[in-house]
């Protein structure tokens, strides 16, 4: 591969990385609040609501993400003849999928808080809101950080699945160039990019965990 060709490839790869980052951050921004909402509904005392949410979580976690991506893209576009932006369909599928995983992490964290701490809040006259914001939330956050970090790292890698719909994100670019050049080098370079990306994610989370390490429970 000549250096001019390689330079052009790197530029394309950077563009692809932009798309990858876009999918990553938008999915994260959408799925975390959605996950909180799903957690609240999942813990609802209304049995019908909680059953529907459980079914949703089971489906999202029980089928391949790539299948969900195709589904949310093809059903509205090809079957219902709706004009939906490809990116919108992708983000819809990604957010719904990740919200299901996040919701289960949030739920396990919430249920792991000792009942006695909430009771202490009650006995001392804290309102429900005060108990949630000044006792439950900080403790849940600390508890779920490691598993949340793991899920975010998976999300970085899952962005590559979007290539199946022909989106020119980092993996698709590398794959195209590899095919054209008949050389594995572009894939290796893309792999290094993903690796560095996740190293940054890991480091960020370990810094956050450190900030929460001044106490244990």
């Amino acid at each position: 591969m000549s250096s001019a060709v390689f330079g052009k490839f790197l530029l394309q790869l950077l563009e692809g990385m932009g798309v990858t980052l876009e999918i990553f951050f938008l999915t994260l921004i959408l799925s975390v609040p959605l996950g909180v909402l799903v957690t609240i509904l999942r813990l609802s005392k209304n049995k019908i609501v909680s059953a529907i949410i459980r079914l949703y979580i089971t489906i999202m976690r029980g089928t391949p993400l790539i299948l969900q991506l195709y589904f949310f893209y093809f059903v509205p576009c090809l079957m219902l003849n709706l004009k939906i932006d490809k990116m919108v369909a992708i983000l819809f599928a990604m957010a719904l999928n990740y919200a299901a995983y996040f919701a289960e992490i949030f739920r396990s964290g919430y249920q792991a808080i000792p009942q006695g701490l909430k009771e202490a809040g009650k006995v001392f006259g804290y309102s429900k809101k005060q108990i949630f914001f000044s006792i439950s939330l900080p403790l849940v956050t600390k508890r779920i950080l490691p598993s949340f970090a793991g899920e975010v790292i998976t999300l970085v890698k899952d962005t590559a699945l979007v290539s199946a719909l022909g989106v020119l994100e980092m993996y698709k670019v590398a794959q195209n160039v590899t095919n054209r050049m008949v050389s594995p080098l572009p894939l290796v370079v893309a792999g290094v990019f993903y690796f560095i990306f996740n190293a940054i994610v890991s480091k960020t989370f370990s810094l956050i965990e450190k900030r929460f390490s001044y106490y244990n429970f």
């Binding site: 009650k122 006259g125 106490y215 244990n216």
Partner: protein
């Protein structure tokens, strides 16, 4: 003299339990008195305490705190709640707050005291329990005895009319129970109204005005400390229970 605590014919039934946790329990306590509740596990001691501190609602019967009936209106429940406080068996200190903030938080957030006043009260209490030097420590770095002393200070800080203690030394190593019992004894001398669930019979005898023996949700024996636990101990069931504690 008016009673601070009045329990009349209280019954508590949990839906999935074969028998009532409490059945027709009646008790009363005057200001400045100490009541100890003893009895085997599953006898309903904690349930009774949880009903008084509004962690549970009793199925029937009445509880009054300082003449305020529980379960009638939200305003009354709130008023009564602010007159009670509870010391838990396993402390339940807020792990993400320092020792001092554990003591100031409810004063500021619930009683709306100024930060300065809450801080002054916390410092005083910390000196009283001998843990002023631990004020900036987090609860996970305290021994069980220290944690329970802080938890007592947290309860005192909200100026309760009546304090409930749910087996305050049961989670502690034997060497650490003394420091906690001493603080409770000092409170008794200072005429704090208290209800204490305990398995420490000598302590219960020394500190209490009244002792109640609960079994299977019923009050089996009730009387002055000396009558129930003293030399004249007459009830065969109580005698058996005490000797089983070793």
């Amino acid at each position: 003299m008016s009673n601070i605590l009045e329990i009349r014919n209280v019954t508590k039934i949990y839906p999935d339990m074969p028998r009532p946790a409490l059945e027709n329990v009646s008790l009363s306590l005057e200001k400045g008195q100490v009541l100890s509740i003893i009895g085997p596990s599953g006898s309903g001691k904690s349930t009774l305490m949880r009903c008084c501190t509004q962690l549970e609602k009793c199925t029937s019967g009445e509880i009054e705190i300082c003449g305020i009936p529980l379960g009638k209106s939200k305003e009354d429940d709130r008023k009564a709640l602010l007159k009670t406080s509870l010391v838990f068996q396993n402390f339940n200190l807020f792990p993400h707050f320092t020792v001092k903030r554990n003591i100031t938080e409810a004063q500021v957030k619930v009683l709306k005291r100024s930060k300065e006043e809450a801080s002054r009260i916390a410092d005083e209490l910390l000196k009283r329990i001998g843990l002023y030097d631990k004020k900036d420590t987090y609860p996970c770095y305290l021994s069980g005895g220290q944690a329970q002393r802080v938890s007592i200070a947290r309860s005192l800080a909200v100026s309760p009319e009546i304090m409930f203690f749910d087996e305050p030394t049961s989670a502690l190593d034997p060497e650490l129970t003394g420091e906690v019992l001493k603080i409770i004894k000092d409170l008794a001398l200072a005429k704090m109204t208290m209800v204490i669930i305990t398995h420490e019979m000598r302590f219960a005898h020394d500190v209490s005005d009244k002792v109640v023996f609960l079994e299977n949700g019923h009050v089996l024996v009730e009387g002055k400390s000396d009558e129930v636990l003293g030399e004249a101990l007459t009830n065969e069931r109580v005698r058996k229970f005490i000797s089983s504690l070793g």
